[in-house]
Symmetry: C2
Subunit: 272 residues, 2 copies
Amino acid sequence: MEKFHRNERLAVLMKTLCDSPGETFTLGSFADMFGSAKSTISEDIDIVQNLLEKFDLGSIESMSGSLGGIRFVPSYKKDKIKSILNSLCQDLSNSQRILPGGYLYMLDIIYDPKKISDIGYIFAGHFYKREIDCVITVETKGIPLAFATAKQLGVPLVIARHNSEATDGPSVNINYVSGSSKKIQTMVLPMRALKGYSRLLFIDDFMKGGGTAKGIIDMVREFESEVVGIGVVIETLEPSKKLVDDYVSLLTLNIVNTEDKIIDLKPSKEWI
Amino acid sequence: MEKFHRNERLAVLMKTLCDSPGETFTLGSFADMFGSAKSTISEDIDIVQNLLEKFDLGSIESMSGSLGGIRFVPSYKKDKIKSILNSLCQDLSNSQRILPGGYLYMLDIIYDPKKISDIGYIFAGHFYKREIDCVITVETKGIPLAFATAKQLGVPLVIARHNSEATDGPSVNINYVSGSSKKIQTMVLPMRALKGYSRLLFIDDFMKGGGTAKGIIDMVREFESEVVGIGVVIETLEPSKKLVDDYVSLLTLNIVNTEDKIIDLKPSKEWI
């Protein structure tokens, strides 16, 4: 069997681990892949771990026991997160983004693979200790964000929709009340989409009153499952009392002043 | 400045390049990052290129001239693609997936980050030479697929919706006729979503008559833009004449026999 140099092993280890965050690899599987001793691979992993640390790219976690092995955990340090959020704020505070009604145009950001991957990294780093089984979102704007987060946590994505389709199979419908507009809306989740007793992370682009998050919590209860984390990109400062308590936002929007064309948007307290 | 060993440079180069497919990096930027000579970095890149080739993970492309530099291009070789498509077929041919009306439950697959990333790799490898500016899809089921493809091509994603929202700003609406059911449907794209003269890749989960693809082609014409590629995960064998000509499918569905519970699904001719 072909032998590989440490050079080569390190590069391929780095790609393999980082391409599959959250997935557990045994030293044995890498030993087979490279035709090396497990002790050699173990030294390689230490080097990869140091590099991830040095370049602030995440970390390697070792698990012992019969489920033993190593896995890549994406996370950024506080300074890098701050700098990502500051540049996001700057971009979103451009007055040309102001739309009629005081809305902010942000589709170019929340559909941008590079920016979204960074946000997925931040959410994954923040939530991975909660042993998430599944990321959930509601169509449409939060889907790329939720997908990037699921990818970095190494778990499946589930999407609730507003109407059911033939391709869903049997589904559970619930009505929920939007936190800000008090409108009644419908949410649908296919019966097959969730196994019971799942621990879910709800990801969305925007939270005003928290009605959608509350709707998701109620809905997954019908699947005997539980929302154990909520992450949104932007929350509004008002109403300060949301319909849910335990959530994390990246940015906080105070006001969009359509007259003076001023957007007051800051990284949320959590990250400062 | 701290010096890095070749070991370390290779691992970090691999991650940096592969995390940002399609993005051009100069040798100078890596020379600065590692405090090494450009000639040394150039040797590093050759090793990375060989490794990518050996492990079938993609390739490095060099561009000369004033826009010179290197970029990572994701692609798999034919054998690997075949094996991915075969395992996809096997998974999707499980008779428990059959839903009333002969539909196939496939949400667990098309929302699975790992499987979808592989499909994104395949589409990106197939289409990257067409100089795509943007990936486009219609809500909802194709979004994760389109996002993963956009990520691997290093271009933005654009999502057409069925109804407009206040956060879209001014938008273009068009009506289109579904190719199979002949129902009239509406599609909306925000005016700001597309720059003129964009070259677009349309990605979706399923194609029967091709009406949606045709709708997208008509819609982006309103933005003086052009669909230069169409990729779908599954196409149906019938109708064999679709409303669009130039498209690529990964799998072809002949029939879902709800009585005998048989699903006839194969990798499309293109890949065999």
